[in-house]
């Protein structure tokens, strides 16, 4: 039995018809064409499908789409405003915090969630909280440097617009 749900994604509202077993990842990619969210394992084990829901990081491949109804979903496509990159994105670019780029959207959104939660996370905190995001290219070093540097370069990098105090 399909069900009509309303999803709020990157500030826009989408009416979608979903099966109860559709994951959020399936809806994002296959129904809405938001291809920035990646399918790396479909098992909640690699973090490539990470999205933010009400500011917190979730694995969209193991979350049912119907459970995301009525919540604020942020995908990688919604992170930058206008033509400018978000400070985290710029930092990943400048520090070489990516290679093939497949894990990158998930990495950046997890980092964003960390900076939402903590004002000045230490390197250890970043490593611990990003341990669910796998990368086979970079060896992680430049990713950590990118997150640290984004935090230092822009105090606002971590503060989502309109977040309630």
């Amino acid at each position: 039995m399909k069900r009509a749900i309303e999803l709020s994604i990157n500030g826009d509202t989408y009416d979608v018809l979903v099966s109860p077993n559709n994951t959020l990842l399936e809806v994002l990619r296959d129904k809405l064409g938001l291809m920035g969210t990646k399918r790396g394992c479909d098992l909640g084990a690699c973090g490539a499908c990470t999205v933010l829901i009400n500011g917190e990081a979730y694995l969209s491949c193991v979350m049912l789409a119907i459970d995301a109804g009525g919540k604020d979903i942020l995908t990688i496509e919604g992170l930058a405003e206008g033509g400018e990159l978000h400070p985290l994105q710029s930092s990943f670019v400048e520090k070489g915090g990516l290679q093939c780029g497949f894990c990158t959207p998930g990495m950046i959104l997890t980092a964003r969630a960390i900076l939402n939660e903590e004002e000045n996370p230490t390197e250890d905190v970043i490593k611990r909280k990003m341990a669910g995001n796998l990368c086979r290219c970079t060896g992680y070093k430049k990713v950590v440097e990118a997150v640290m540097s984004a935090n230092e370069s822009d105090e606002n990098a971590g503060r989502p617009e309109g977040q309630e105090a």
Binding site: E77, A131, T138
Partner: protein
């Protein structure tokens, strides 16, 4: 950074990094075509069986199914990445040879229906005796996996360089040790995918594929589909990592093309993660025996090396892998006498293929481990024994390698210094230790005469530059490096470059990303193309400025007479002047490059200089072993690295850091566990490659050399650094707890068992 260079040698971000951080970079699975169908593959549940019958009628009747194909339907043409080793069908013809072998394919209007249809295909198998251990498979009477392949040995090299018997007789001591290196999965984050479209009017097939080898894929598709190469266009979108696993055609490529041709609709195949683990490629498990004769002072006189590589069910790169593991034993150390006996053996298991280092990591693990053991037995310092046996530039190599530049012995000294060798080795408390290991790797391949690259550089009216290159960027940044080379040569800015790459319908020939040859080979081709275009413009400008052609310089978007910057003009003004002189536009430069080889040979048949240049490195590890849990923590890895002169130091560091963490996985965590042919851990959760938490401190030391063949002095930087992390770590574990591990990976269980046995 070299003097007089503006763009080469700088840490510029990847040109496509902006698209990647926005999630806008398109990988194969991100591509959508109107009316697209979806395919799935039925895989063998048995390790070895004859296919008696396949009944697809129930699957065909399922609403939404558009087509079902089996081995019966496809041309009787085998494929393989190495032409002499073709042994695979996209869909099994008569037999399945491992659990996961491709049996049938379904195409449907959505992936779920395709999946459901797989369950409706009825296959009658006659199960055959299977063999899982190469040491059993090689024996007389073992099950025959491929008809006509005696002892399941599909490739063997038996070679002697020098006189090993005499070397052993002259040695003060001869040691023999046995080692095992396990199966490692490449685990790129992007699962393998393919999308095909066919134009029935002119017979043109287009395939988008997550591949490292677009041009070889084109060749394999042409051969297996029985259509001309000119009718096949392979496009490589962004590729989410490869590490060698995407150097082959797979069933998904063939089947997407097959269904697109027969159904007249675009067709996409995307592998599940489990399929990536089971049905693509892995690093060959290898059983190794090394016998080494040394003088009292540690000088190596001779070595005998035996390798049994577990190839799994098919050849893939078998001959190349065996040849590499052989010839690279004679570098970075001077080994004047060597016997190599290596063979590739079929088993009923997942298929071995090229993986970062390709046959060499297994050999280096054995040799570098044994070198430490010999040092201990002879009372020589492991650093000293490496420096003493180091090969040097210009020194003769037993198999004919030509070594123009070599920073190996310097790399040993500097890596040792940086890890604190003098203060730490043998002096740290129980549970802490340091160790090191060395390696060398080719910058691509020169000894196979058809390995060459082309490039086209076109100068636009506004000073912008279009580059066409066949090189396959799989995330390492090849397009960026090539663009840097072109920008430097033309004296323009990096923003002026637009590069189009890896599209067999548009870009010139290139063998692809393997053997760490892209920067040298495709970089040199692009440099030649840029020089050709620049010279056409310079000839005209020299006349206009009344200057000598040889005196002109292009820099920072200006062309001027060397030493007189005022005598010149901007790059775009020069192009405008060229055009208004009624000279034909556009200015186009072309370049083709292959490594200089005195004569075309292949290592399979003849020795010779394998590569245009060789990188060298020493890696030094410091570890901490938890004596209670057996867990090893890699605290620090130093790499002293001679990769020539880096074109982009930031990208070189990225390669190195990824290599170190991958090598750490090989040493401590990763192992594709197979029981009776069944992979027991085909998921990220169970396989467990390193995460952020295991990341060590990583230090890079540049041992810069100026290679005469590479573009602007560059050598390879992508693969060599994954050769010695594993032995360096295991050597450090010896220093920490006094146990010599001979098998990888060294898991906590093995550490605890060894500590218990020591008590």
């Amino acid at each position: 950074m070299k003097k007089g260079l503006n763009i080469v040698g700088t840490r510029v971000p990847m040109l496509d990094a902006g698209l990647k951080v926005k999630g806008a970079a398109q990988f194969t699975d991100d591509l959508v075509l109107p009316g697209m169908l979806f395919g799935k593959i039925l895989r063998s549940p048995l390790p070895h069986a004859r296919i008696l019958n396949i009944d697809t009628s129930r699957a065909e009747k399922l609403p939404g199914v558009r087509g079902v194909a089996t081995g019966r339907d496809i041309p009787d043409r085998q494929y393989g990445i190495v032409p002499m080793a073709k042994d695979e069908y996209a869909l099994a013809k008569d037999k399945v040879r491992y659990i996961g072998d491709d049996v049938a394919a379904v195409c449907a209007i959505d992936p779920e229906i395709a999946e459901e249809a797989l369950e409706l295909i009825d296959v009658d198998y006659e199960e055959l005796a299977a063999v899982f251990d190469p040491r059993e498979a090689i024996k007389e009477g073992a099950p025959v996996i491929h008809e006509g392949v005696k002892n399941n040995t599909s490739f063997a090299i038996n070679k002697e360089f020098g006189d090993v018997a005499r070397a052993f007789a002259e040695s003060d001591a001869v040691f023999e040790d046995r080692f095992y290196s396990q199966a490692v999965n490449h685990a790129p984050l992007e699962p393998h995918a393919a999308l095909a479209q066919f134009d029935p009017l002119n017979g043109d097939l287009t395939l988008w594929s997550s591949t490292q080898i677009p041009f070889f894929l084109r060749r394999n598709l042409s051969n297996t589909l029985q259509i001309p190469e000119s009718k096949v266009r392979v496009i490589k979108p962004k590729v989410g990592g490869g590490f060698g696993q995407k150097i082959d055609m797979f069933a998904k490529d063939f089947c997407a093309a097959w269904f697109a041709i027969h159904l007249g609709k675009p067709v996409k195949f995307v592998y599940e993660r489990e399929e990536v683990f089971i049905s693509t490629r892995q690093r060959h498990p290898m059983y190794i025996t090394v016998k080494t004769g040394v003088k009292k002072d540690g000088t190596i006189l001779g070595q005998q090396f035996q390798a049994h590589a577990d190839g799994g069910a098919y050849n893939s790169t078998a001959p190349t892998m065996i040849a590499l593991s052989c010839f690279f034993l004679m570098i970075p150390y001077h080994i004047p006498n060597l016997i190599y006996e290596g063979c590739h053996i079929y088993t009923n298991k997942p298929v071995g293929g090229a993986m970062r280092g390709h046959g060499i990591p297994q050999a280096r693990f054995a040799v570098e481990r044994q070198l430490d053991m010999i040092a201990g037995r002879m009372g020589v310092d492991p650093v000293e024994i490496r420096i003493k046996n180091s090969i040097h530039a210009g020194q003769p190599h037993s198999a004919g390698f030509v070594i123009n530049t070599c920073g190996f012995s310097e790399s040993v000294t500097r890596a040792a210094e940086s890890i604190g060798w003098q203060e730490k080795r043998g002096k740290l408390p129980l549970g802490r230790g340091v160790g090191l290991a060395g390696a060398s790797f080719p910058s691509g391949v020169s000894n196979m005469s058809h390995i060459s690259s082309g490039a086209v550089v076109q100068l636009g009216r506004d000073g912008a530059v279009n580059v066409l290159s066949g090189a396959a960027d799989i995330g390492q940044g090849a397009e960026t490096v090539i663009s840097q080379i072109v920008a430097e040569e033309l004296g323009v800015s990096l923003e002026d470059i637009r590069i189009t790459a890896a599209d067999t319908g548009i870009t010139p020939l290139d063998p692809g990303t393997f053997g760490s040859g892209v920067t040298v080979r495709a970089g040199n081709a692009a440099r030649l193309a840029a020089m050709s275009a620049r010279n056409k413009l310079f000839e005209f400008i020299a006349e206009k400025l009344e200057a000598n052609l040889a005196d002109l310089v292009a820099e920072n978007r200006n062309i001027f007479v060397k030493g007189s910057p005022e005598k010149g003009m901007t790059f775009s003004a020069a192009l405008k002047a060229y055009q208004y002189a009624d000279l034909p536009m556009p200015i186009v430069g072309r370049g083709s490059w292959m490594a200089p080889a005195s004569e075309p040979t292949t290592l399979f048949k003849e020795d010779g200089n394998f590569a245009p240049s060789y990188s060298f490195m020493t890696q030094a590890a410091e570890v901490e072993v938890d004596l209670q849990t057996g867990r090893v923590k890699l605290l620090k890895m130093v790499t002293a690295h001679d990769c020539g002169t880096p074109i982009n130091p930031m990208l070189v560091e990225g390669q190195l850091e990824g290599s170190v963490v991958g090598g750490m996985g090989q040493a401590l965590y990763e192992n594709v566990i197979v029981e009776k042919g069944q992979v027991m851990n085909p998921s990220f959760l169970d396989y467990g490659f390193p995460t952020f938490m295991e990341m060590p401190e990583i230090e890079a030391i540049e041992v810069e050399t100026d290679d005469p063949i590479g573009p602007f002095g560059a050598k390879e930087a992508g693969e060599g650094t994954q050769l010695s992390p594993a032995p360096a770590i295991v050597n450090a574990v010896y220093d920490a707890i006094g146990v010599d591990f001979m098998e990888l990976p060294i898991t906590p269980e093995k550490i605890l068992d060894a500590l218990e046995a020591k008590k």
